[in-house]
């Protein structure tokens, strides 16, 4: 019925089946939308947040998806600036995943602030000393850059592209994409860093505070490295997951190993500095404020297992796996390494968000714990479902994967 809209020479499932899939996703969208309505009408009192945990699931979710969405800016940088041509086979997907992650994060942020109607104050009354101001500006601008990068993919839709003006517009946007890739790389580097800086500057919070270079705490640089060490792996995983869902080959395995090699190399660099940073924090900074490494952890919920998982099982291990050709050339091991990598970065964002404020700095205060409730999970689910919808529509109607036709030729 809608086959005229499909990319040239590609087959897609029936419209009925596609609509059934969208309706399924709509359940999550509906539940998330209901939660958003309840939150906006009744306030954040309906969440599991409190005065000790002003930040929780949403900020963790935002930071994690922004890191995992870094595949867009880093792949764009490598493709358009460093001219690694092979990435052209996955760059469209990287842009779409980046767009979903960033726009989704912004949607959640509007729920997370107590006065959503004042959200524009961040632009109108900026505090130049706040890392969060930098984050607000850069995320917004970079989201716009991602829109600009996404537009040519939409304009290449078969029917739209028949219109001469749109055809030329898409072509010219492609020609000048290096400019946007460059702007995107600049903006994204800064806000990935500022997200880390947000925690590193908290000199009242010993779990997160870090010294650094000039105005940037070490976490600024570590967050940039961790994002580029996981973003490409996540994009590659999304491509693979889409292959499973569609039953088709979408990206050549060689391109996937290239993405893993890039992520692995950056992850190695990240882990090198992260381990030094952790060592210095534990053995030098903490004792200087009368604290010990052991005091930073609490029972299972904020236990050391999180740190060892982040650094070892989900850090050093996947880094080694992804830079070793013999391992990354075996699909099962490659995907395992990429999943571990993404989990590790998510743990990092979680502990910096939640454990930082869970640690009782006052000696006579107690550890308290935080558990997100349905009102927080539902909007997070909404964003995931929104991502699926955007990806599903893009895959069905847009030429996202240049290699799809050749890889699936009978």
């Amino acid at each position: 019925m809608d086959s005229n809209l499909f990319p040239e020479g590609h087959e897609r499932c029936s419209l009925g089946r596609f609509l059934a899939w969208i309706v399924f996703l709509g359940l999550f969208l509906g539940f998330g939308g209901y939660a958003a309505f309840v939150i906006l009408s009744q306030g954040l009192v309906v969440t599991g947040l409190d005065n000790y945990f002003g930040f929780g699931l949403w900020i963790t979710f935002d930071l994690a998806v922004i890191a995992l969405g870094a595949g867009a800016f880093f792949s764009g940088f490598l493709k358009y600036i460093l001219k690694i041509d092979q990435l052209k086979h996955i760059i469209n997907l990287a842009v779409i995943v980046g767009f979903i992650c960033y726009s989704g994060a912004m949607l959640v942020l509007t729920l997370d602030i107590g006065q959503p109607i004042r959200a524009w104050f961040g632009y109108w009354h900026p505090n130049v000393h706040s890392m969060l101001t930098e984050v607000i500006f850069c995320i917004t601008l970079y989201c716009l850059v991602l829109v600009i990068e996404f537009v040519p993919i939409i304009l290449e839709q078969k029917q739209l592209n028949k219109i001469p003006f749109i055809h030329h517009l898409a072509h010219n946007l492609h020609v000048n994409m290096a400019l946007f890739a460059g702007i995107g790389a600049f903006l994204s580097t800064f806000h990935q860093g500022s997200l880390g800086g947000m925690y590193g500057v908290l000199f009242g919070r010993p779990y997160a505070f870090r010294e650094g270079f000039f105005i940037w705490p070490w976490t600024f640089f570590l967050f940039v490295l961790s994002a580029v060490g996981s973003g490409p792996a996540f994009t590659m995983l999304v491509a693979t997951f889409m292959e499973v869902l569609t039953g088709k080959k979408l990206v050549e395995y060689k391109v996937k190993t290239l993405m893993a090699k890039i992520a692995g190399s950056m992850l190695c660099l990240y882990m090198f500095f992260k381990i030094i940073d952790t060592w210095y924090w534990a053995t030098s900074y903490l004792p200087s404020v009368g604290l010990t490494f052991d005091q930073m952890f609490y029972q299972t919920i904020y236990g050391k297992w999180l740190m060892w998982s982040e650094l070892g099982l989900c850090g050093v291990l996947p880094a080694i796996m992804m830079i070793t050709p013999a391992i990354r050339n075996r699909p099962a091991l490659l995907y395992t390494a990429a999943i571990l990598d993404c989990i590790g970065i998510t743990i990092n964002r979680y502990v910096f968000t939640v454990q930082t404020i869970a640690f009782p700095a006052l000696p006579f205060d107690k550890w308290v714990t935080y558990t997100p409730n349905w009102a927080e999970w539902a909007p997070a689910g909404l964003i995931v479902a929104y991502g699926f919808v955007v990806l599903s529509l893009s895959y069905r109607y847009l030429p996202v994967f240049p290699q799809e036709k050749a890889l699936n030729a009978k």
Binding site: G43, N51, L132, G204, P363
Partner: protein, 256 residues
């Protein structure tokens, strides 16, 4: 951010050896600042307690067990952790006296300042403030009620300072050198034991001038570098030791 110094430095000194933990300071603070009663205040992590009393103990078993109560207002830090992080300049430390302001109509409710403050002195309005019928007649006309979704905190009863300055101008007194009793916070005046002293710690005519220089005076988490404007006094060493974090080796050295 560069640290600012002011001629007046409003400071609070709380004698922990006298505090009985009666909570009068908390109540007076709630009344003075129009904090609406909550229908269900059982979750203490959701209550609005600008002044909060903590209970501490020396960790010893009976008969050596000792307790102390520690009233905790906003520390009005000299180097506040909350001010530089606010993305919209809804909190600032730029006024004579060094009180950290909170501008409710500017706050977007991101709660970054709450995450930055190690004293948990900042509170979020999780719900709409609802005053039971008739209670509006008891509200203070000087303090604005805050809407849902903004952060609030102790302001050293800032409006009382405004009134004290008005009085000084009327009576021809220098506003930079007012008698101590002209500007007192609600908690100070309500404390039945005279535990809380308030004044300009830079003014030798104010009682707090001497108190903050006592060898028994200490501040909370000084090692983190926030430079609080609230001091505590206790002759009990274990109480003073609980004001900050110390390694076991440091504790041993202090006790030696």
């Amino acid at each position: 951010m560069e640290k600012q110094e002011f001629k007046i430095k409003w400071g609070m000194v709380i004698d922990l050896d006298k505090c009985t933990g009666c909570g009068a300071c908390m109540v007076s603070c709630q009344v003075e600042n129009n904090i609406a009663p909550q229908q269900d205040a059982s979750n203490k992590l959701r209550t609005l307690t600008w002044m909060n009393v903590f209970e501490m103990n020396n960790g010893q078993a009976f008969p050596d067990h000792e307790i102390a109560y520690l009233p905790r207002p906003c520390m009005q830090c000299g180097s506040p952790a909350c001010v530089p992080v606010c993305p919209v300049v809804a909190t600032d430390k730029n006024e004579e006296g060094g009180i950290v302001s909170q501008i409710y109509p500017r706050c977007i409710g991101c709660r970054y300042c709450m995450g930055a403050c190690p004293y948990h002195a900042r509170y979020f309005n999780w719900d709409d403030p609802v005053f039971p019928a008739g209670m509006e007649k008891t509200l203070s006309p000087n303090t604005s009620a805050r809407p849902r979704g903004v952060v609030e905190k102790c302001s050293f009863c800032h409006t009382r300072w405004g009134r004290a300055k008005e009085r000084a101008r009327k009576e021809g007194v220098d506003t930079m050198d007012m008698p101590q009793e002209w500007y007192q916070t609600a908690c100070t005046t309500a404390c039945p034991g005279g535990v809380i002293q308030f004044g300009d710690v830079n003014n030798p005519k104010h009682s707090v001038y001497e108190l903050v220089r006592s060898k028994y005076a200490f501040r909370l988490l000084e090692r983190l570098g926030l430079d609080p404007q609230v001091w505590y006094v206790s002759k009990r060493e274990w109480v003073r030791m609980l004001g900050d974090n110390y390694l076991e080796s440091e504790k041993a050295k202090k006790h030696a």
